[in-house]
């Protein structure tokens, strides 16, 4: 029995050695490397799934937010400040005049409220008039010196009478005197 087992040992060894002694087909390593380098479709689908999940989550959050907004009590109304009330003396108020025409009473003066119109928007500037526009155009197109010289021409020029004697000419103190 022991001898038979000893005879079987080499046979079993050779059989087991051949059991997994297989060679892959040619180009196996190249195919493996190509499979590793190519983009994986699973990854792309993973991104798609992640994007879809994000969108669904965002929609759910938005829906919940909206529903909670609807549940909230309405915000308190802020009463605008009442405008000043002016009473007009002598205003006659006829109460139920058709029923009791004989009982014409003079009631308290009616209240007439003058509600000031509140401007919510700041008023836009008033457009320039035609003259102002012409003046601006003139100033823009004319040199500064020329404008200055024109301004001097407008000043009243004191005309001296050459025939008048020197002694009769008013001196500067008299000219500018207010008296």
């Amino acid at each position: 029995m022991a001898d038979q087992e000893k005879q079987l040992d080499p046979l079993l060894d050779s059989l087991l050695a051949n059991y997994a002694d297989a060679e892959p087909r040619p180009g196996f390593e190249t195919r493996l490397l190509a499979a590793l380098r190519e983009p994986k479709p699973g990854l792309r689908f993973g991104w798609l799934w992640a994007g879809a999940a994000t969108m669904v989550t965002a929609a759910a959050v938005f829906a919940v937010y909206n529903s909670r907004l609807a549940e909230l009590p309405p915000p308190p109304r802020i009463e605008a400040a009442r405008p000043p009330v002016f009473s007009l003396p002598g205003t006659v108020v006829v109460r139920d005049a058709t029923r009791h025409p004989e009982k014409l009473q003079i009631g308290p003066p009616a209240l007439v409220s003058v509600a000031g119109v509140r401007q919510e928007v700041f008023p836009s500037p008033i457009p320039l008039s035609e003259q102002e526009r012409l003046l601006l155009r003139y100033l823009a197109g004319t040199p500064r010196d020329e404008v200055a010289s024109h301004a001097r021409e407008d000043e009243p020029v004191e005309k001296t009478d050459p025939a008048r004697p020197e002694s009769q000419r008013p001196n500067s103190a008299e000219v500018f005197s207010t008296r």
């Binding site: 038979q4 087992e5 079987l8 040992d9 046979l11 079993l12 059989l15 087991l16 050695a17 051949n18 059991y19 997994a20 002694d21 297989a22 892959p24 087909r25 196996f28 390593e29 195919r31 493996l32 490397l33 499979a35 590793l36 380098r37 994986k40």
Partner: protein, 196 residues
């Protein structure tokens, strides 16, 4: 001594890992180094070339998927072997072994035998014995079959098998002895029937 040699190889491989800049480069280095081992492990379990190639490819894709943990691997060889082993086991459990697969493999077995320049009757006997051995191994209990299948891969020693299966090395040796004993008993019974 053997353990020291394995550790030295692992250190050398880890140096290559550190040199690899991207995970793809690292996995490419692993493919160059261990693709044949992965294929043979898968083949020992699946007994089919195409399935074994697919399993090896899936193994390296799984490794690439867990690229973040690549630098924490202590021994890349046993790690690749472990991934290949689990991948092949998953494949085997997901599909039933069919007669078609074995029929496809017959020409390959014949080709292997023919390469060794054996006589025709010896070739036939060898082919029959190989088929018989495959059936015997398939009939073994799971705890004996798994270490035996891994031991048929020449690149793996008992220490590495223990690391792959995550069991003590002594358990591996014990299971291998029991498996061999069972196989010898069955083989002798078959041979006696044939010759007797």
């Amino acid at each position: 001594m053997a353990a020291q040699a394995v550790t030295g190889e692992a250190i050398l491989e880890n140096v290559q890992v550190i040199r690899a800049e991207t995970p793809v480069q690292f996995v490419e280095a692993l493919v160059a180094e261990h693709s044949l081992t992965a294929f043979r492990i898968a083949y020992s379990i699946l007994r089919n070339h195409h399935d074994a190639e697919d399993a090896a490819q899936e193994c390296f894709l799984r490794i690439l998927k867990h690229a973040k943990r690549l630098r924490q691997v202590r021994n890349p060889k046993t790690w690749v072997a472990r991934v290949a082993w689990t991948t092949a086991l998953d494949r085997r459990s997901s599909r039933a072994r069919t007669a078609v697969n074995e029929a496809v493999e017959e020409p390959l077995v014949l080709a292997q035998i023919a390469d060794k320049n054996l006589a025709a009757d010896e070739q036939l006997a060898g082919k029959q014995l190989q088929g018989l051995l495959a059936q015997m191994i398939a009939a073994l209990p799971e705890d004996l079959r798994q270490p035996l299948e891994l031991s048929t891969v020449q690149e793996l020693n008992s220490a590495e098998i223990a690391e792959i299966m995550n069991i003590p090395e002594g358990s591996v040796r014990t299971r291998l002895m029991r498996a061999r004993k069972l196989l010898k008993e069955k083989l002798s019974a078959v041979l006696e029937t044939k010759h007797g």
